[in-house]
Symmetry: C2
Subunit: 149 residues, 2 copies
């Protein structure tokens, strides 16, 4: 489409960077209520999965699974291991294609409902944020190496 890639301002404002994967920018959602990674494919103009080609779609699936492992690792490091992963590509509010990978526990504030649109984000205490970012980045790096990406 010609335009350069950039992450949507609404995503930048609510998350912090983790790592650039083969296809996606991986970011940690700034919300201590849930361990939560957002993946944004570096494809300008993409709003739906169908706007990616098949190779990109397969890559997105693999990066989604890797993000799930990183969410599990970060949650364990924070002493709140995850019982279920929730994966969603919605984009009703922020149209840029992005995939949420959210770690869920039966004692989290939204269980068993979805997390999107519920209440206000809870800021991370700085030490917890640092631990979550470090653990998630290490997990993503390890998985990317293992996949030969």
């Amino acid at each position: 489409m010609g335009e350069p890639f950039s992450v949507a301002p609404a995503i930048l404002a609510t998350s912090v960077p983790l790592l650039s994967l083969g296809l996606c920018e991986a970011r940690l959602q700034s919300d201590a209520r849930y361990p939560w990674i957002v993946l944004i494919p570096r494809r300008p103009g993409a709003r739906e999965l169908e706007h990616l080609g098949p190779a990109d779609r397969a890559r997105l699936m693999e990066e989604t699974v890797a993000a799930g492992q990183a969410v599990r690792a970060a949650a364990a490091a924070l002493g709140r291991p995850v019982e279920k992963l929730n994966v969603g590509a919605l984009g009703n509010v922020t149209p840029q294609l992005h995939v949420h990978v959210v770690g869920r526990r039966v004692d989290d504030p939204a269980w068993p409902g979805p997390v999107w649109g519920l209440g206000e984000a809870l800021p991370y205490p700085p030490a917890q944020l640092a631990a979550a970012v470090e653990t998630a980045v290490e997990a993503l790096k390890g998985l990317a190496l293992k996949a030969g990406a």
Copy 2:
């Protein structure tokens, strides 16, 4: 894992069959508020994407995109074309791995929030249900043939 595959009773109770795809059972959610297909991979015991192998995951992604096209076709046939697709794999209530592909409009009852867990399903009038099923099945058949599946 040895056990035979069957669709979870909670999914059977809230949807009607469309087609068996290469990996998934495709079903139409029995809720006239949203054109909505549920995909259930025929892999006994799978609860998370990571429980599928990479080839199954790539297939699931392609069947998800096909289901999105079928949702669009069914919605158009009902005179309510879709403006956005929402894709989600949650499983907090029904653990069997399943992917929701939901057509969204700015005038639907949940917009811009997620559809899951909101209010009560609205039964389809029989003629509309028949039209939605027929259109979705035709779209899925066409896409499966085109993909050589």
